[in-house]
């Protein structure tokens, strides 16, 4: 079964003059860890917003867990979103709430009827498995490093035990050590609940895609250029894929 299926998605923001997505077809199997890569401006973020139901496609169908998103009512879409955790590029933590409050926020909104202590316990557990020590729980996001903010954001994304985890360029702007740490964290998180959780990572980092991805999807000009396992990607005959592999590995290791 596919967790996410995009069928012939076309999207234009200017009434049909220019299309960002030009008939995108994509199937993401349930329980997989899929990395979506591509040059800037190929429609990766727009594709993510379609999966989350934040943007309505000009034409085409978005199916999440087999349900057509745009046949659902607003309430149903809102409910579905509680089953999707998102780690944003810049963490998007609420800057007026401390670490523990940030993680407790979705719990308080959607998991009614528990005692305050229980919410605290769940949030603490999520933070600890994301690698945040207790001494940081009362700090504001502005007092944390970039890597720690991502960890807190991951804990918040995990708070409701979602079945789909989406990472929007999780390592952009981080140094190589932090990049590797975040990649490992994503991999650990996925492997911890292998089979239940479907992870979708949008990234520019090809090496990370090879290291942690079970499937790699490459977008180009609003369409899927290539999709398959990492080894298929390396052996692809498509010129642009070859170029991307060459540039990606050279940039990373200077070879």
């Amino acid at each position: 079964m596919n967790a996410v299926e995009l069928v012939d998605i076309k999207k234009s923001f200017d009434g049909g003059n220019e299309f960002i997505l030009k008939g995108l077809d994509l199937k993401i199997p349930k329980g997989s860890l899929t990395v979506v890569i591509g040059y800037s401006g190929t429609g990766k973020s727009v594709m993510l917003k379609h999966i989350l139901g934040l943007i309505r496609p000009t034409s085409g169908q978005v199916n999440v867990f087999g349900q057509d998103l745009w046949q659902m009512s607003n309430k149903e879409i809102m409910k579905l979103r509680t089953n999707i955790g998102v780690l944003f590029q810049h963490a998007a933590l609420f800057d007026d709430q401390n670490v523990i409050q940030n993680v407790m926020f979705p719990l308080l909104e959607h998991m009614k009827g528990k005692k305050h202590k229980e919410y605290l316990e769940i949030a603490s557990k999520k933070l600890i498995i994301s690698g945040i020590e207790e001494k940081h729980f009362l700090k504001l996001p502005s007092e944390l490093s970039g890597g720690m903010r991502k960890r807190v954001a991951l804990a918040r994304a995990l708070a409701l035990d979602p079945e789909i985890l989406i990472y929007d360029e999780p390592t952009t702007g981080l140094d190589p050590i932090l990049t590797e740490m975040v990649d490992d964290l994503i991999h650990e998180t996925h492997m911890r609940e292998e089979g239940r959780v479907t992870s979708i990572i949008v990234s520019h980092d090809l090496m990370a895609a090879f290291r942690i991805g079970q499937y790699i999807v490459m977008l180009d000009k609003g369409k899927v250029l290539h999709s398959g396992k990492p080894e298929d990607f390396l052996n692809s005959d498509i010129a642009l894929v070859k170029k991307f592999v060459e540039k990606g590995t050279k940039k990373k290791y200077g070879i």
Binding site: L52, L54, M78, K79, L80, R81, T82, I84, V86, F88, Q89, H90, A92, L93, F94, D95, F105, P106, E109, H110
Partner: protein, 281 residues
């Protein structure tokens, strides 16, 4: 007509057409923007009455918009009341009518200056802060984060702010009226030597509770205006830090212009209604 003359005529007429079309474009843009803001206002008000109710958020914003504005309102209103009283005293002294300083100041404050100045001050202080806060949340993806958590950002962020502005403004306006009249009393009675009994007697004689209500109604409308405009601008911010600055600026400026313009319209409507109801207007 020579070719050059024909060219000059064409150029002038093209320029004129461009000028007219730019004006039409500006006006239609303005109408469109107003329409979208009104729809946004309706959506936010409607969201307040949908589950889950956000009373705590409303209280939090009443504290920010209302309680935290008290000091600035007190200072502004006291000095406004005193300055206005002094100018009216100087004018009325020429025609030997200083007995009427109290009610004249009262009418001016309660009907016009109270709601308008309260609106302008609170729009600048709290409206600007609301636009900046929502704008920052938008550009740092915090609003997107709310949405993907299955929380309606309009209901969580906008509705409580607009409702808090609506509730706070009449209260602040009443406070403005009270402090301004206290300032007027102190200046007139204790500094300029007017008779205390006459001061209060004339106010009681010439001022009607309807005058106070007029100001409070206006203040509530101004609360809705700056609440809707500033949250709309902030909520729809684009373009990073620069965009936050622009949306804050636009939110505050548009609110202020609207408050002054709508005050004039409301004054006329209320006068008209009062006349219909047999009052003096």
């Amino acid at each position: 007509m020579s070719t050059n003359e024909q060219y000059a005529v064409n150029k002038t007429s093209n320029g004129f057409v461009q000028f007219i079309s730019s004006i039409i474009e500006f006006i239609s843009g303005l109408i469109c923007e107003c329409g979208i803001t009104v729809l946004f206002l309706f959506k936010s008000i409607k969201s307040v009455f949908q589950r889950p109710y956000r009373f705590q958020e409303v209280l939090k914003h009443i504290e920010f918009i209302g309680v935290q504005s008290l000091l600035i309102i007190a200072l502004t209103s006291a000095f406004t009341g005193m300055a206005m009283s002094f100018q009216i005293y100087l004018g009325f002294k020429l025609v030997n009518a200083t007995n009427l300083v109290g009610p004249t100041v009262g009418l001016g404050i309660m009907r016009e200056l109270g709601p308008v100045l309260t609106g302008l001050i609170v729009a600048a202080r709290a409206g600007g802060a609301m636009a900046a806060r929502l704008g920052t949340m938008r550009v740092t993806e915090q609003i997107d984060a709310l949405e993907v958590m299955g929380i309606d950002p309009v209901q969580y962020l906008v509705g409580p702010r607009v409702l808090a502005a609506l509730i706070s403004m009449p209260l602040l306006c009443g406070f403005f009226d009270f402090v301004a009249m206290s300032g007027s009393y102190l200046l007139c009675v204790h500094a300029l030597g007017l008779d205390e009994g006459i001061f209060f007697d004339k106010i009681q004689l010439w001022l009607n509770p309807r005058d106070i209500n007029e100001g409070l109604i206006k203040a509530a409308v101004f609360g809705l205006i700056f609440g809707a405009v500033c949250t709309y601008k902030g909520y729809n911010t684009t373009g990073g830090a620069k965009g936050v600055g622009e949306s804050t600026n636009k939110g505050v400026v548009n609110s202020m212009v609207l408050i002054i313009a709508i005050n004039f319209v409301m004054t006329n409507i209320i006068r008209f209604v009062n006349t219909l109801m047999g009052g003096t207007g």
